[in-house]
């Protein structure tokens, strides 16, 4: 495929990752995986990705948020669309008191809850990538 989109998943649950990875593989995406925030950030900085699928609760707490914060500060990384996949809606709201349940981490992001139905997952992924590309074409 000439225009194969590259995705990165950062999630510390290998079983869950296999579940979404095989759906994304099946849809023709090239998928990389990082099982912790550190290697995740390294991957983001060393390679171009069309989309990041990001888990929030990893390791000792909301380490996914650290990644989002780092991305927000980086002019290149903050253009990458992010699909936040989380198991805990309540805690997201708790972490951002006073903010709506869906926090805006970067320019283009969306939030879905685990587990996510294949149809919804693929819809969100392609929509986010399209939105990011349209934005790039406009500003770039």
């Amino acid at each position: 495929m000439a225009d194969q989109k590259r995705l990165l998943i950062i999630d510390d649950d290998p079983d869950f990752v296999e579940g979404i990875q095989s759906i994304l593989d099946g849809a023709g995406y090239a998928v990389d995986v990082a099982y912790n925030p550190k290697t995740g950030l390294q991957a983001l900085q060393s390679k171009f990705y069309d989309l990041l699928l990001l888990d929030i609760m990893m390791g000792r707490g909301a380490e996914g948020i650290m990644i989002a914060r780092t991305m927000r500060k980086d002019p290149k990384l903050r253009e990458i669309p992010v699909l936040i996949i989380t198991g805990i809606r309540e805690q997201i709201a708790f972490l951002f008191p006073g903010e709506p349940v869906h926090p805006r981490f970067v320019a283009i992001d969306e939030l879905v809850e685990k587990p996510v139905e294949p149809k919804l997952l693929l819809e969100k992924v392609s929509t986010l990538i399209e939105t990011a590309e349209a934005r790039k074409a406009k500003t770039g």
Partner: protein
């Protein structure tokens, strides 16, 4: 080894003889006793040593005893205070107790009386402190419960479900009809579990009374229509007709739409669940005595009379006629809490094998004058 810390008592009285004799009476007990001859020194002592129990003479020169009492409670209302009244002045004793004193001790008193009231005061203090600790622990538990349940239970279930989702896509066309059906059942069962955990989180870690912050005017018809939309697929599966009889021009109620719809979905969903197939569930709504009444009736298995009081309490689980239906017995608890947060009431009437009616009443919106 940790020793029980000595219980700290302060006696504030302008008569030296009272201070001395009180100190003597309590000698031999494991108390740490301090005394002060007036209010201002007494307050300073309270601030310094953080006592468990304070005796305050009501009649003292300088700061009046009643003010000392108030200032102590303003500083720390877990400190137990007992006032000493000079003569049989019941009025001032009553006033002191209104201001938070635990008890009063009329002069003159015997050593036994003093020892007894001291013991009771300290027991009271212990209870107060214990209550506060328990309340704090309960809050902490509630907060942690959300985190533990989400992470330890929901994560593995999500991983399983995600793989079932992936597998059913990858195996499409390769499985026999019955294998496919089993895979679908598995997804449904896992989905039920995840929903159950979400309900628990809703009951135990979300403070439902907070919906009061987002009250607005709501049309009853909208609520019922939205709730029916969500229950209808289940009703169709069991061939149950949903019949609504809603008075036209019902006045709006004041509430939170999302949670009220949730409450109604639970109630109507329950009615469908416990109905005999091919029967009907009716939803009536009328205005009555300043309240909107919504009654949901099924023609189903009903609830035995001795179980009726339990229906709305936590974890009640009825017997569904269709054992395939999952019933968690928590939906009605959530509904009850939501209705109560709306200053409403909910009650159940039922006859076994005939059917059940759940009626909720919610106050109508008061006209803003």
């Amino acid at each position: 080894m940790e020793m029980n810390p000595k219980e700290k008592i302060i006696i504030i009285d302008d008569e030296e003889v009272v201070l001395d004799s009180c100190t003597q009476i309590l000698q031999g007990f494991n108390y740490d006793i301090s005394t002060a001859p007036n209010g201002s020194q007494g307050l300073k002592l309270v601030d310094e040593i953080k006592p468990d129990l304070v005796f305050i003479d009501l009649k003292m020169p300088g700061i009046p005893g009643m003010d000392v009492l108030e200032q102590i409670h303003n500083q720390d209302n877990t400190i137990v205070t007992i006032v000493i009244t000079g003569y049989a002045t019941v009025d001032s004793a009553v006033e002191a107790m209104k201001k938070g004193a635990y008890d009063f001790l009329p002069k003159p008193f015997t050593p036994d009386e003093f020892r007894l009231i001291t013991k009771r005061g300290l027991e009271r203090r212990k209870l107060v402190v214990e209550t506060i600790t328990l309340r704090r622990e309960k809050e902490l538990l509630r907060e942690n419960f959300a985190a533990i349940v989400s992470h330890e239970l929901k994560s593995p279930l999500s991983a399983i479900q995600q793989n079932l989702f992936a597998l059913s896509g990858e195996l499409a066309g390769k499985l026999s009809e019955s294998q496919n059906a089993r895979l679908e059942r598995m997804k449904i069962r896992i989905d039920d579990l995840i929903k159950l955990i979400n309900s628990w989180l809703r009951v135990y870690s979300v403070d439902i009374s907070k919906v009061k912050d987002s009250f607005s005017a709501i049309q009853v018809l909208t609520l019922i229509t939205k709730a029916i939309e969500s229950v209808e697929p289940h009703a169709i599966r069991k061939d149950i007709r949903l019949i609504t009889r809603i008075d036209e021009q019902l006045p709006p109620i004041e509430g939170d739409e999302l949670s009220l719809v949730e409450a109604l979905v639970n109630i109507i969903g329950n009615a469908v669940k416990y109905s005999y197939p091919e029967s009907q569930v009716t939803i009536d709504s009328v205005e009555k005595d300043g309240m909107i009444e919504i009654a949901v009736s099924d023609k189903g298995v009903g609830i035995p009379e001795d179980e009726l009081p339990n229906v709305l309490s936590d974890f009640y689980r009825g017997k569904s006629d269709d054992s395939d239906e999952s019933s968690h017995g928590i939906g009605l608890t959530i509904s009850r809490k939501i209705i109560e947060a709306h200053n409403g009431t909910i009650f159940v009437t039922s006859k076994p094998t005939v059917g059940t009616t759940i009626t909720i009443r919610i106050p109508i919106l008061k006209e803003v004058v």
